[in-house]
């Protein structure tokens, strides 16, 4: 697992209060990890803060799963 993936997992565990084992690449924040729309907004903000980047709204809308978040960040974090 990449360093980015590991940090993403920790943020999700912390913010959503789920077990690490639940945070699989396919896991959807809302359908699988119990997040509501506000939790998802907060997660995106946490990613922005942790990785020091800004995720535009139209990009954020496409981040619904753990894997999508990791992929986006691996591509955009410098």
């Amino acid at each position: 697992m990449s360093a980015i993936a590991e940090r993403v997992k920790q943020i999700i565990v912390e913010k959503l209060g789920v077990e690490e084992s639940e945070v699989t690449p396919e896991a959807n924040f809302q359908n699988d990890l119990g997040a509501d729309s506000l939790d998802t907004v907060e997660l995106i903000m946490e990613f922005e803060k942790e990785f020091n980047l800004s995720i535009p709204d139209d990009q954020a809308e496409n981040i619904g799963t753990v894997g999508q978040a990791v992929a986006y960040l691996e591509e955009n974090v410098k």
Binding site: K15, L16, G17, L38, V41, E42, M45, E48, K49
Partner: protein, 418 residues
């Protein structure tokens, strides 16, 4: 139409002198002060460096961390007190008509810490507008009633009353009236506050409203004492379950007391100072006694607003003497704020609980920290100084007065069956 009767069937309290009703009451009767140096933030530079904080509380013992972090402390306190009250009331929730169950809560300020944290974050983060999505729902004062409503599935009237330090009393009056009118069967009511923050202490210090007796926090709240120098900020809250009498009887509920009246008035005088002759205080007691349909002489105990400020205390006393006449010297009067500090929008809730428990146990909690008589306070009054007093208590009145000149009072009566 005739009004329905309203009884109290459950109570919960989270206070500076105890984190549940039995501890709260035991310490009130014992005359224990809840004041101590501030631990919530670094108060080193503040004029007042002590407060009546809730102590030894691990929120996660009551609310899972993931839920708790989406609540401001004033909502956490509301939930903890409500959980105790609901458990105490012992409802079979399968049988409750949830559309006729409400939550009417009081808070003077709402999510002050949340507001402070978010604005500090904004300011320290280069004024980058990255506000947390939970900021607004955590901060707005109604969130306590919303969270409790969701927690218990109560779908009747749910909202918050805001009238500064009278807020919780206004909540109780609204809950009482809606049940009297048949609009609800059951209501979780009360109030909470969590203002021991930088902004809360700094703001009240700027008003010169707080005691600055930093060398002796536990004796700082001394209502009616000649050397009182301001109130001591408190935090926490209490929840009461108000229930329509026939509804309570039908399910065999334990009944603590009957709520028989609620009244309001306004000073229309000054945004923070009370009317010097106690005009509003007089009228609120008159209105409440009339609303309860009793004679003034039937009141055995007044839990006063009595915050320990130089100008606030005597005006309430003058109003009591004017309204009750000779009876003022026959009843017991006390300010439990001498022990709990001033919970602002939560004050009316914990003081209503104190009145109800005084009726249950036939004992008056004291006004502690009385050292020197104030020539402005008539010595014929029994202010229950320093030590609890046993006496017959059938009817008790609780007064609360808020900034803005809002006054609200409620009356509870010993339950004596049909």
């Amino acid at each position: 139409m005739s009004f329905k009767r309203v009884v109290i069937t459950g109570m919960g309290a989270l206070t500076p002198v105890g984190n549940d009703v039995p501890t709260f009451w035991k310490n009130l009767v014992a005359g224990v002060s809840g004041a101590a140096p501030i631990t919530r933030f670094d108060a080193e530079k503040f004029r007042t460096r002590f407060a009546c904080e809730v102590k030894g509380l691990d929120i996660n013992d009551y609310i899972p961390r993931q839920e708790a972090r989406k609540m401001d402390p004033f909502t956490q306190y509301a939930v903890i007190a409500s959980d105790e009250a609901m458990k105490d009331a012992g409802f079979d929730t399968d049988k409750l008509d949830l559309d006729k169950a409400g939550v009417i809560w009081g808070s003077g300020i709402g999510g002050l810490k949340t507001f402070e944290d978010e604005v500090l974050n904004f300011s320290e983060g280069g004024r980058n507008p990255r506000f947390n999505p939970f900021f607004i729902p955590k901060m707005i004062a109604d969130s306590a009633s919303g969270v409790i409503s969701i927690r218990y599935g109560f779908r009747g009237p749910t909202f918050i009353t805001v009238s500064a330090c009278a807020s919780a009393t206004n909540a109780l009056i609204d809950a009482f009236n809606y049940i009297r009118l048949g609009m609800m069967n059951v209501c979780i009511s009360g109030g909470s506050e969590a203002a021991v923050t930088n902004a809360g202490m700094g703001g009240f210090n700027a008003l010169k409203a707080l005691s600055e007796r930093n060398d002796s926090p536990e004796t700082a709240s001394r209502p009616y004492d000649k050397d009182r120098d301001g109130f001591v900020l408190g935090e926490g809250g209490a929840a009461l379950i108000l229930e329509e009498y026939e509804h309570a009887k039908a399910r065999g509920a334990k009944i603590y007391a009957e709520m028989i009246g609620g009244g309001m008035s306004s000073d229309a005088y000054h945004i923070t100072a009370p009317h010097p002759e106690g005009r509003g205080a007089y009228m609120v007691m008159k209105n409440t006694v009339e609303n309860a349909g009793i004679r003034p002489e039937e009141i055995d105990y007044i839990n006063t607003h009595g915050t320990s400020t130089p100008i606030g205390d005597p005006q309430e006393i003058k109003a009591i003497e004017k309204f009750f006449g000779e009876h003022a010297y026959k009843m017991n009067i006390s300010s439990t704020k001498s022990m709990t500090g001033h919970l602002l929008g939560g004050a009316g809730a914990i003081e209503a609980a104190a009145c109800i428990l005084a009726i249950r146990d036939q004992i008056i909690p004291p006004t502690i920290n009385h050292f020197t008589d104030d020539p402005e306070i008539n010595p014929r009054l029994n202010l229950t100084f320093n030590k609890a007093q046993k006496r017959e208590v059938k009817i008790a009145l609780s007064n609360t007065f808020g900034f803005g000149g809002h006054n609200a009072s409620v009356i509870f009566k010993k339950y004596e069956g049909d």
